[in-house]
Structures are given as structure tokens and as C-alpha cells.
């Protein structure tokens, strides 16, 4: 698997080396290796069950890696190297490693008992120990940025799917991340609501945010992505500039998948 070595930034934000992960007897990741550099937008595609979501979830340790190495900003994820052994990290340490990584979920996962602002200030106030008025002011600015200036005090149950997902993006951004992970952010949305979420993500990419996006939106990948990775059966099958991969896929499985997605 040859990786493009000269991308935009110089330092890799994420470096995966031969990652393996099993759920019981199911071998989901079978040696994933790739790099994401500062400011890069990496789009990950592949059929369901190909391991793309699992890979994303390993990066902020919602899943524990079984084998291989995962480095985020020159720090080994999930383990500490001491005396030639890898020691599993405690929850508190894991929470610290997650601090600069924002994640957006397919099903939004907003906290239903908190307002939009309440959702956004939760992380800054509890994990970053920001004071209340600063956190609230920042939350309002972020909600303005995702176009929800009139929904500060709305509960998630009163918002549309697209609005909920934009609150979720604001919630992730409130942690001032250097890396944003998107796990099929538009898959649970009605078609007419997809655009408003993609627009927010495009603006974010334009601001230079490093992003890994698991998505089926070929248009988004082509327009915004720097690299498109195609995964199948737990490995990276093909990767390259999105335009090239979409218009001239090399691997037969990529061809087959794209022909199905593009119709």
C-alpha cells in the first residue's frame, strides 16, 4: 500500500500503522495504514462493514485497537511505552488524549435533557474547566457560525435533523479541536437537510481544519476532500486525490462500489 508522502502540511496529525481490530470472531480491521497531515481533509468511503467507522472510532478510542500502532500528533494512542512494554492507559488519560479531537456521529447523539447551548458548553465547562460566562459566549458564537442564532435555548427534540447535526458540530468545535472526525454525518438526514450540514463542513474545511470524513457523498469528497480512501473488508484498497479515484478507479472493488453509489 503506497501512501502519498507529500501532502499539504509536514507533520502527520494521524498515523495508522497496520491497525487490527476484531469484534469477537469478526476481524474488522485487517491492517489499515494511512496518514493524515495538518489541514488535510481525508474522505473515507467503502461498503458497510468495510471497517471505515471502526477505524474512525479507534482514533478517539471509542474502540480499543487490538494490534498495530496509532499515533496522533506524535503521541501513541491508548497505550504508554515503558520499559519495553505497552501499558494500557487509564480512563482519565484517555479523556486527556481525546481532548483535541472532535467527533460528529451519524445519529447526532445530542444530550436530550440539555438545550442547544447546554450541549455546546458541557465539554468546555466540565472537561476544559472554562468559566460559565466565557463558555456560554463561545457557545453562542459557535451556534451563530453554524447558522442557529435563533435556537440557543431549543432542546434537541424541538430541532430538525439538520439542525441537530449542526448543534453537534458546534459541540465538537467548542472543544477547540485540532482534528475533526465525521462518522457518516449526513446518512441519517432527510435528503433536503443534507445540504445545510455539508455547507457547514465545507466552511470548516475552508478554515483549514484537519478532518477525517466517513461519507457516501461523492460530490462532497470530490469538492472538499484532499484525499479519498476507499476501504473494503478491513483494508485500504485504494487512495489518492478524490477526482482521480472517482473518475478513474484502479481497483475492481472501488469501481464496483462507485458505479453503485453514482447510479
Amino acid at each position: 500500500m503506497s501512501q502519498p508522502q507529500t501532502e499539504r502540511g509536514a507533520t502527520p496529525v494521524v498515523r495508522a500503522i497496520d491497525l487490527h481490530k476484531s469484534f469477537g470472531p469478526v476481524h474488522v480491521l485487517r491492517g489499515v495504514s494511512l496518514q493524515v497531515r495538518t489541514g488535510e481533509v481525508l474522505c473515507v468511503m467503502g461498503p458497510s462493514g468495510s471497517g471505515k467507522s471502526t477505524f474512525l472510532r479507534c482514533i478517539n478510542q471509542l474502540e480499543r485497537v487490538d494490534g498495530g500502532e496509532l499515533w496522533v500528533r506524535d503521541e501513541l494512542v491508548g497505550h504508554k511505552l515503558r520499559d519495553g512494554k505497552l501499558y494500557e492507559l487509564r480512563e482519565r488519560e484517555i479523556a486527556r488524549q481525546r481532548r483535541g479531537i472532535g467527533m460528529v456521529f451519524q445519529r447526532f447523539n445530542l444530550f436530550p435533557h440539555m438545550t442547544a447551548v447546554g450541549n455546546v458548553v458541557e465539554g468546555p465547562m466540565r472537561a476544559l474547566k472554562r468559566n460559565r460566562s466565557d463558555a456560554h459566549a463561545a457557545a453562542r458564537r459557535l451556534l451563530d457560525r453554524v447558522g442557529l442564532s435563533d435556537k440557543y435555548d431549543a432542546y434537541p427534540g424541538q430541532l430538525s435533523g439538520g439542525q441537530q447535526q449542526r448543534v453537534a458540530i458546534a459541540r465538537a468545535l467548542a472543544m477547540e479541536p485540532y482534528l475533526m472526525l465525521f462518522d457518516e454525518p449526513t446518512s441519517a438526514l432527510d435528503p433536503e437537510l443534507v445540504g445545510e450540514v455539508l455547507d457547514v463542513m465545507k466552511a470548516l474545511a475552508g478554515d483549514g481544519m484537519t478532518m477525517i470524513v466517513v461519507t457516501h457523498e461523492v460530490g462532497f469528497a470530490r469538492e472538499v476532500g484532499d484525499t479519498l480512501v476507499f476501504m473494503d473488508d478491513g483494508i485500504v484498497v485504494e487512495s489518492g486525490p478524490p477526482r482521480d479515484v472517482v473518475s478513474a478507479p484502479q481497483h475492481p472493488r472501488t469501481k464496483e462500489f462507485l458505479s453503485r453509489v453514482l447510479g
Binding site: Q61, F111, E122, A168
Partner: protein
């Protein structure tokens, strides 16, 4: 219908066709069955009221004893034992629920055994066992401290342990159900904004679990209140025992039982009101749907068509 339609057979105007029905009066369906069932129920209730009014109940005695100091003292003891055993039940219940869901098989099994044991034995029997513990354990000691069991296991203590531990087994299952009802995605979202496990429990899981736990917990509170009357058999001076003592001497059996019943109902009513407000507090973010549902139920009861 216009005036020409009166008298039935005089006109041969054709019935209005499609597109001509605007403005016609609409006659709701008559629910005759509801009138019949209402009448039957009212008659039965009236008969019941009459029976009680004609029976030999001395209502003046009921009124006199309702605020007698002995009864009020019993009421006070009833409320104290209910509050204390519920507090114990909640503390132990949360602990056992957490143990039951632990990754550690030993704590999980112990919690399972605890629930099996204390939920499976009748409360009355548990009360008797605690109260008579001195028969088999004459002394009880914690490290260097030692005391006679008779001094430790007062009627209050036996009632507290009997009721509290029994209820804690139920509470544990309620708490567990509540925690399991919280979507796994909620915990992941909380982890993703790097909250610690403690913060996730306190800020995300418990508040959402409370919404599910509170209604049955309110029922449990009410059950405990009523079950506290069983403590009469171990001579704890709660309301029922007090009422019994009084009627042993003056023979106004039913009157005093009614006095106790009135007080139980009064306390249960107060608890229900409190429960309503606490549930509303923890229902934040879920209100819009219930009210809409409530309105549609209201419409249905009135027999109006649903929108």
C-alpha cells in the same frame, strides 16, 4: 338543508352531490353505550356510599380521633420510618445496581444473589427475622466495639433494615433498567467531548435514567409507606399499631381503622403531587411530545374527531 326540505315527502330535490357539501351541519356520532355505563357506575357508587352512611359507623368518633395526639405521633413515626427506609433503599439500590452491571463477575454475582434473596422473601418475614436476630446472635460487634443485639435491634432498627433492604432490591432493578435505557451513543458523545467516567455518570447518564426511574420509584415510595404498617407486628409504634392500641381499649374498631386509612390517603396524595413536580423537572427536553399526546387523549375522551 334549506326550508324547502322540511316535511320530508313534499320535495323531490336531489341530495347534494360532490362539491356541494360545504357548510352542511355535521352530526357527531352518539355514544349511547357511554351514557349507560356511566349510569351503572353512578348507581353502584351511590349504593356503596349509602351502605357506609347507614352502617353503624360513628363518624364523630372518626373526626375526634383524626387529630388525637396518639394518632399524630403514630403518623409521625410512619413518615419517619418511610423516609429512612426509602433513603436506605435508594443508597443500597444504586450500589447494588452498579455492582450488578459491573465488569467484575464476583460483584455481579453477589449483587444478583442480594436481589434474589431480599426480593424473594416476604417483607413480614424479613421484619420478624431482623427483630428476632438476638435469638441467634446475642451480641454484635464491629472490631473492638461490641453491643448486645437486643440494644441494637430496636423495633425502629428492625423496621428500617427490613423495609429498607427489601425495597433496595427492587430499587436496584429500577435503577439498572433506567441506566440501561440510556442510549449507548449518549455515552460515546460524552466521551468524545472528553468527560471523565464520573462526569458521564453524573451529568449524562443519571439525569436521563431518572426520567425512566422516577415513576416506578414514586410507586415504590407509596408501597413503602403502606408496608410500614407491617412494622406493627414488631411493636414499632407506627400509625396502625397506635390505632389498634386505641381500639383495643374503646372498641371503636372500624372508626379507628378509617382514621388510619384517611391519613394514609392524605400522605399518598401529598407524595403524588411531589412526584408530579419532580418528574416534570427531569422531563426537560421531552415535554413537547407528551403535551401533544395529552391533548389528543383529551380530544378522544371528549369524543371529538382526532386531527
Amino acid at each position: 338543508m334549506t326550508s324547502t326540505g322540511r316535511g320530508g315527502t313534499t320535495t323531490a330535490a336531489p341530495p347534494p352531490g360532490p362539491g356541494q357539501l360545504a357548510g352542511l351541519p355535521r352530526v357527531p356520532l352518539r355514544h349511547y353505550g357511554r351514557w349507560v355505563s356511566a349510569a351503572v357506575v353512578i348507581v353502584l357508587v351511590a349504593l356503596l356510599v349509602r351502605a357506609f352512611a347507614q352502617g353503624g359507623i360513628e363518624w364523630s368518633v372518626v373526626g375526634r380521633y383524626l387529630t388525637a395526639s396518639a394518632i399524630l405521633h403514630g403518623l409521625q413515626n410512619t413518615i419517619i420510618i418511610t423516609l429512612c427506609s426509602m433513603a436506605l433503599a435508594i443508597v443500597l439500590g444504586v450500589l447494588v445496581a452498579v455492582m450488578r452491571m459491573s465488569a467484575n463477575p464476583v460483584t455481579r454475582t453477589v449483587a444478583f444473589g442480594y436481589i434474589w434473596l431480599f426480593r424473594g422473601i416476604p417483607v413480614l418475614l424479613q421484619l420478624l427475622i431482623w427483630y428476632n436476630l438476638a435469638l441467634v446472635f446475642p451480641t454484635v460487634g464491629f472490631g473492638p466495639f461490641e453491643a448486645r443485639m437486643i440494644d441494637v435491634m430496636t423495633p425502629f432498627m428492625a423496621a428500617l433494615l427490613g423495609l429498607g433492604i427489601n425495597m433496595s432490591a427492587y430499587t436496584a432493578e429500577l435503577v439498572r433498567a433506567g441506566i440501561l435505557s440510556v442510549d449507548k451513543g449518549q455515552i460515546e458523545a460524552a466521551q468524545a467531548i472528553s468527560l471523565t467516567p464520573n462526569q458521564i455518570r453524573r451529568r449524562i447518564v443519571l439525569p436521563q435514567a431518572m426520567r425512566v426511574i422516577l415513576p416506578p420509584l414514586g410507586n415504590e415510595f407509596i408501597s413503602t409507606l403502606k408496608m410500614s404498617s407491617l412494622a406493627a407486628v414488631i411493636t414499632y409504634g407506627e400509625m396502625l399499631e397506635t390505632a389498634e392500641f386505641i381500639y383495643y381499649s374503646n372498641n371503636r374498631v372500624i372508626e379507628l381503622l378509617i382514621v388510619a386509612a384517611i391519613w394514609y390517603l392524605a400522605v399518598v396524595s401529598v407524595l403524588s403531587v411531589i412526584q408530579h413536580f419532580v418528574e416534570r423537572r427531569f422531563g426537560r427536553g421531552f415535554q413537547s411530545t407528551p403535551t401533544r399526546k395529552a391533548r389528543s387523549i383529551g380530544r378522544r375522551l371528549k369524543g371529538a374527531p382526532e386531527q
